[in-house]
Subunit: 580 residues, 2 copies
């Protein structure tokens, strides 16, 4: 490809909202343009990289025995009704055609895959199998981030596996975890398998593939001694100890503190450390159960953890009127003293071993201090961990502090179990004994655009992108330098002709070349080459042509994007270098 | 791929509504499944073929210098408003996200491409270029046909070229016509370039690539001596002569024929040939002009032709009340006698040279007979051709009858001219003289799924599909025959082992193999192989193994899908055959 002919040339400006390096560089180097927020055009350079990533993913998925298919983008809403996902609160884009048929724009395709598979009579002999596709996916995100990291439309590889048993699924899960690690390695990403939440489905088989990067939206908690990673949402944590050794229980007393709400203000007002305050929150589950969850004041509740503990699907904050009815007090004064019996109380482990702590009194404007277990409150049978994990927290099993870093989630793998196959009719196979059973499912996703952006986030310098060879838009960036001060036009055309020759010869042997044939300054050409980030830069100039000629062949300047030094090499030497 | 592992096996049944061969075969052989009418799942076999077609298209588009990009599927409705296409009567699928932003699901992407290109400052030096993509496209068709021929969602290759001048566009058009012919040749289709209508855009540069097939929806008119093809909508035609030589004009007279409407009934009532009747239709244009169009009774009006003649964008039939106002008569009695002056009269060339013809009188229940030009009506300055072309019609330039056949439109190329660039702000380039000018555009589409179906329509026999090598899902269909009556299990495992070995060895040298390793009857395996239609079938059995061994190597039965006879060949001989 001649650069003069390429659509989407480099530009110095960056969009106002481009705060992320990948957004800035992909824009400046001519890889992407925004259509509307969160929806991107892939320019020729960007599309080349996207396709190379897709090719790597496809190769590894095929190698793992998965089979590529293609699913319509418009999913019949009726299918989503079968699993009650039509009412899901993640923004579904719905559409009606002129025959009044309703569809959902595919965000994930579990229902579609079950619908496809149930069109066939499946027996245990057909299992297991995995089907996958590359397709545009839609998320009605309220907030899109700059660049390709959080978008509303993107190409995703989504795979779905079908099994006769959970044990069989586990083998596939193991295989996929290796396949994913290999895929990301091949595209130049070092990923961590991070334990994650699996929504309503639950279970232990849910992992994200995260790339360490400050541009990431996720907070990852790492246990060095175990080499384990957890997503913030589910990282188990032990409260940091608050030393109260030797403190004697004091008499419990009420303190009137009108209108003082919030633990910081309260601690100040009561002149006690915030660690002595208590947060009590009242929730209602989807079944109507009322829950009181209490934890040490400086912590917040992690609803995902709490839902898992309770075993419910949703938690709704109880409205102020109902709080008054339940506790007798306005919002802000709830505690676990004197609650009606119907309220189920859960205490976080940050409550363990406390002495003389504060708590809401369930009377408006009144706080109780010097509360103590056993005397004022029964010691619960069990303390739980439902606090939001924070930097500095300890991993309970080893007691060591977490290392915390930011991550970009580029892929995920998780069990679906029987979640879909039990909700959707006919999602069964005939087992060896002739009985009809629901199949066990798994699900495996990779965001292609986000993977592309993650590579740029971790592989760049102040001059531009540094593409790994495996997914670079071109193998070689060839530059000719025509001297404007040259004595005769002849010398320039010699350079041009040699450049053209190298361009053709490289392509003949299958090397992909971006050939900067423009009549612009050397500085511009070098800056553009660095910005675009193709792994190898070749320069042909009057100077390089002076070195060697005849049998030895003219020399070409060879430089890797990752190295500072260039070398003068012959065409054959360069070919050898590139083939490595 | 082992057939035992393949998802989407063959089936004997066909869907009730599957009347087309391609629909039946692609379903039975396990290439596609319907999601909802007009939306298809591509199963692993189908997706392999689809991708091979895409690869061929991509190679030829790249060779022609076009650059691949990717455009979001959700197009901002605001862009479509710029060109007034948001109100188009072809079913647009519109959607609103939860931030109330409105989008159109992309059917074609002209506005998006202009929007993308205007984000860059384009100069004459950047022109010409062509950008193309492969993307899911949506059409809210009222009626979907079975299989992949008329669908509501499909992958299309759509390309858009940008030029400094019409002349430059013509070069691209010429190049694309060759590129398309080559693409279709490579996938096994013989296509005809058929002159077509270009909607509002008009101009002579609009051609469809049609495959001759009775499954096609289009009627193609062919001029043998000129080797020219026209789509029915625009095929120029000369009325078949109706001999009235020597007939003397008779006195014009009114005939009362109450309630007789329609030319057939009228001809019968008047006892005249239908060729002596006249059809007169009154239309209104978008500008409010009233048009009367008259032609010989047995013909129908081709509104596309008539619009081109008038130079208007829309023609609406005039409502009965307005007809009464204009002509003084109820609907069904309009003629061109005594019409108000404001009505513009257009006569089809089928009216030329008529003597003693019938016509509506513009009086309710009354027909006039023996109307004659010059005496009763002025001879018009010009006769036009706005009749629907019919089999038997003559090509005006040579006077020869058309050959008529049905065609499947697999691609089209056409000029957009300044249609979009003049409507959309900033759709300009800086010319050599520094002035800002709109660019001239062209557009080039290929329906990938329809191309796939067209191949099946033209390449099958009563046993199944016959894939061309270039896009077959696999190169080789390998079958092992294990004899159930064999004396020892040993002989069967010898066959199995040799089959496995051939499978591995073929894959090692890059041959794509579908390996039928199942324990089912020979008859089933052969029938499935013929149905699926892979170009080469290899059979390994006890019998083939008995031929040759040792240095000469074991023999394998080789048969092409297109041939009846099989041969016993060694592995090396087979490799040579496949590489051809």
């Amino acid at each position: 490809m001649k650069y003069s002919h390429l659509f989407g040339k480099t530009i110095k400006d960056i969009p106002k909202d481009a705060t992320l390096k990948s957004h800035q560089l992909l824009y400046q180097a001519g890889f992407i343009r925004e259509s509307t927020a969160g929806r991107y055009y892939f320019l020729p350079l960007g599309q080349r990289v996207q396709q190379k990533i897709i090719k790597v993913v496809k190769e590894e998925m095929d190698r793992a025995g998965a089979q590529e298919i293609l699913v319509p983008i418009l999913h019949p809403l009726d299918l989503w009704k079968e699993t009650n996902r039509d009412k899901a609160d993640f923004g579904l884009l719905k559409i009606k055609d002129r025959r009044d048929m309703e569809f959902v724009l595919g965000g994930t395709a579990e229902e579609m895959l079950v619908d496809l598979v149930r069109k066939f009579q499946i027996s245990y002999k057909d299992l297991p199998f995995q089907l996958y596709q590359f397709a545009s996916k839609f998320r009605d995100e309220l907030r899109a981030r700059g660049g390709l990291l959080r978008v509303r439309e993107f190409i995703m590889k989504d795979g779905y596996s079908f099994h006769a048993s959970e044990d069989d699924f586990k083998k596939e899960y193991e295989k996929m975890s290796k396949t994913y690690t290999k895929i990301f390695e091949r595209v130049g990403l070092n990923t961590f398998m991070v334990g994650a939440d699996n929504g309503d489905i639950g279970g232990d088989y849910a992992h994200e593939f995260q790339v360490k990067s400050n541009a990431g939206e996720d907070t990852i908690f790492y246990v060095p001694s175990k080499k384990m990673y957890f997503n913030k949402e589910i990282a188990p944590t032990m409260a940091t100890p608050f030393d109260q050794k030797g403190e004697e229980p004091k008499p419990m007393e009420d303190v009137v503190g009108k209108g003082i709400i919030g633990v910081e203000a309260l601690a100040k007002f009561l002149n006690i450390p915030v660690e002595k305050t208590t947060k009590t929150i009242l929730f209602e589950t989807e079944k109507g159960d009322v829950i009181a969850a209490a934890l040490r004041g400086e912590y917040d509740i992690d609803e995902i953890k709490l839902k898992r503990i309770i075993g419910c699907q949703s938690l709704t904050l109880i409205a102020s009127e109902k709080i008054k009815e339940l506790t007798g007090a306005e919002v802000g004064y709830a505690g676990i003293l004197n609650l009606p019996k119907e309220v189920k109380v859960f205490l976080d482990d940050s409550m363990r071993g406390r002495v003389n702590f504060e708590m809401g009194s369930n009377k408006t404007d009144v706080h109780v201090i010097n509360v103590n277990f056993e005397r004022d409150l029964p010691l619960p049978e069990k303390f739980y961990d439902f606090k939001e994990t924070r930097a500095g927290d300890l991993y309970p099993e080893t007691g060591e502090p977490y290392e915390v870093f930011r991550g970009i989630e580029v892929g995920n793998i998780f069990q679906l179990g029987y979640h879909y196959s039990k909700k959707m009719k006919g999602a069964t196979f005939i087992d060896e004994d002739g009985s009809e059973k629901p199949y066990y499912m798994g699900c495996y996703g990779i965001g292609i655009g986000r993977t592309l952006a993650a590579v740029v986030e971790v592989s760049n310098d102040d001059r531009g992108i540094i593409w790994p060879e495996s997914i670079a838009p071109f193998d070689v960036h060839l530059i000719i330098i025509q001297n404007s001060k040259v004595k005769t036009q002849n010398d320039n055309s010699k350079v041009k002709n040699f450049g053209d020759e190298i361009y053709e010869k490289l392509q003949d042997v299958g090397v992909e070349v971006l050939y900067d044939d423009r009549e612009v300054s050397v500085g511009n050409k070098f800056a553009d080459a660095d910005l675009i980030g193709i792994p190898v830069r070749l320069v042909v100039s009057e100077k390089t042509l002076q070195h060697g000629s005849g049998q030895a062949g003219e020399k070409i300047e060879f430089k890797k994007r990752t190295e500072k030094e260039s070398k003068l090499l012959s065409f054959d030497e360069i070919l050898q270098k590139i083939k490595k």
